[in-house]
């Protein structure tokens, strides 16, 4: 069963189309990345899944239930972190979490303390005294503490320092290892690339790609630098997929698209002194997706 499935999900704000016919499938037990530039419709899609917005058209199923009609039942099994984390500033962190826990049935005290320790958050201070990063940690604890089957995070690493980011990644990986699902939106492509099994790319309210990261990686370009032996000339024919971007002093800079073995076979036939092949760069691929769509929009 898919943790999330949307069927022609559409949302209009008056004349503005925020989301147009979204057909998305998020399989259970995956770390799923939701990518797109600002205004692509990511937050709208997530809010529709949580029943905070009412669809103009289509429908969304979360954990097999209708997101709008069965909201209260399914939200018992969903954790959510909003993009802009704000709390009741007059409460302490502990009082805030105690309220959420009480409203959820009061079974999360143990997990709450574990997470607070893991994320190194002092829960006995008033929220108004928290920094942005501390509020983000509090939000993460609130989203995680009831051990939801589906976790929806809207840009979760905003304001987190690198150490806490790593702690969060470890938590998310542990969640997925328990066959629970994580759906998170992000602007940080490197984060999605390193963390996710599968991604969906949204642009202008439309889904333009949904694919496993491993497949995208095969499609992605690798940056290649080749230094030839002094005085030597490379083979005149280059393999398809290799594009030379710059040539100087027996050194080539370029990009490679396709399986690495063909490039290596060609390199073996050349008088190469040194070669650098960077890992596949998804950022370029994603930017290409955005640009392609932008071209279509124009």
């Amino acid at each position: 069963m898919d943790a999330v499935a949307t069927y022609g999900l559409t949302k209009h704000y008056g004349a503005h189309v925020a989301l147009c016919g979204l057909d998305l499938r998020v399989p259970t037990g995956r770390l799923f990345g939701f990518l797109g530039p600002n205004g692509a419709g990511k937050t709208t899609a997530l809010r529709l899944l949580l029943g905070l917005l009412r669809p103009t058209g289509g429908r969304a199923e979360v954990l097999g239930r209708d997101a709008w009609r069965d909201g209260p039942t399914l939200r018992a099994e969903v954790g959510y972190l909003p993009g802009d984390v704000r709390f009741y500033h007059w409460l302490t962190g502990r009082q805030t979490l105690a309220f959420f826990d009480a409203a959820r049935g009061g079974r999360a005290a143990g997990e709450l303390n574990r997470l607070a320790e893991r994320l190194a958050l002092d829960l006995d201070r008033k929220v108004r005294d928290y920094s942005r990063g501390m509020k983000q940690k509090l939000g993460l604890i609130a989203a995680l503490m009831h051990r939801p089957r589906l976790l929806i995070l809207d840009e979760p690493t905003t304001s987190l320092d690198p150490l806490m980011r790593e702690a969060l990644y470890a938590e998310l990986r542990a969640i997925v290892a328990e066959d629970r699902t994580v759906l998170f939106s992000s602007h940080t492509l490197a984060e999605v690339e390193s963390l996710c099994d599968e991604v969906a790319i949204l642009r202008g309210g439309r889904l333009i790609e949904q694919e496993r990261v491993s497949v995208l990686r095969e499609r992605a370009v690798r940056r290649v630098e080749i230094r030839f032996q002094p005085g030597a000339r490379p083979a005149p024919s280059r393999p398809a997929g290799f594009e030379v971007l710059g040539e100087a002093d027996a050194q080539w800079r370029g990009t490679w698209t396709g399986p690495a073995d063909r490039l290596l076979a060609w390199l073996a036939s050349c008088p190469v002194q040194d070669v650098t092949i960077a890992p596949p760069d998804l950022e370029d691929l994603f930017l290409a997706y955005y640009a392609e769509q932008e071209g279509r929009d124009l």
Partner: protein, 273 residues
């Protein structure tokens, strides 16, 4: 109903509830003390009350002509219809009701509240229950204040509480009506300031109707549009009977506003702030 949301709504407002109830008690004690002092010179008071403008204004506030019926009990009705009393009660109810929905959206905390495993109707019931409790408590405070005053200054009495008590359910109904309207306004908008503005505009129009119909006979047919038309302390005290019809109308308006608010809230989008 969610106990957690009910308790949170009360906890968020306890300071305001406490302060305004105290203010009402002090107001009642002050009014009783003032009446005690002016009562010692009744003829002077009567002359002053017979001034046409004062007489009209008192009729607007009390719902009937006070002159000719100056007893401690009828004079004490002034404490149950003082503009400051309305201000204290309505500040509390508008503050609580507008914080419940529009306030949550405005502060960005609605995302947390509405992703809890409770329906929007449950959120609405729970916050409404807290507002209702506040309406009842602050509705009872004036009579408690008068009772305390009589205990402190027995010479201010005797007050006939048998005739005064029917005003309490009437005042509670008026407060519930204001809370219902405030919840409706809160359900319609995403900014707390807008919700407060809507209710205040509604109350201002209602009060204007109440005042203008007293001075211009031509406007009398629209008198029924003012909320205070259904809360007239002096006639109630004189009859000593519960004003069932007025209470029913106020509660009816409250119920319609409350149900409209519920419907709007359950169907509306919650925007990201």
């Amino acid at each position: 109903m969610s106990r957690a949301i009910f308790c949170k709504t009360l906890r968020d407002s306890w300071l305001l509830i406490g302060a305004l109830i105290l203010a009402v008690l002090v107001l009642e004690l002050g009014i009783l003390r003032m009446l005690l002092e002016t009562g010692e010179n009744l003829e002077h008071l009567r002359t002053w009350l017979e001034l046409p403008l004062v007489r009209d204004l008192l009729q607007i506030v009390l719902g009937a002509d006070l002159v000719g019926d100056l007893t401690p009990t009828t004079m004490a009705t002034f404490g149950l219809a003082h503009p400051l009393l309305y201000a204290f009660a309505w500040i509390l109810l508008i503050a609580m009701s507008s914080a419940a929905i529009a306030g949550e959206i405005d502060w960005g905390t609605a995302d947390w509240l509405l992703t809890l495993p409770v329906s929007r109707a449950t959120v609405y019931f729970s916050t409404s229950a807290a507002c209702l409790l506040a309406a009842v408590v602050i509705g009872c405070a004036p009579l408690v204040g008068l009772w305390l005053g009589v205990q402190l200054w027995p010479r201010a009495g005797p007050l006939d509480f048998g005739r005064l008590w029917p005003l309490t359910p009437n005042f509670v109904a008026l407060n519930v009506c204001v809370a219902g309207l405030a919840l409706l306004a809160s359900s319609l908008v995403a900014r707390r300031g807008k919700a407060v503005g809507l209710v205040l505009a509604c109350l201002l129009v209602s009060d204007l109707v109440n005042i203008l119909t007293q001075f211009w006979a031509v406007l009398r047919p629209i008198k029924f549009l003012g909320f205070l038309h259904y809360y007239r302390p002096l006639p109630v005290v004189r009859s000593g009977e519960l004003p069932w019809a007025n209470i029913a109308i106020l509660l009816g308006v409250a119920a319609i506003a409350w149900l409209a608010g519920l419907r709007c809230f359950c169907r509306r989008d919650i925007p990201a702030m």
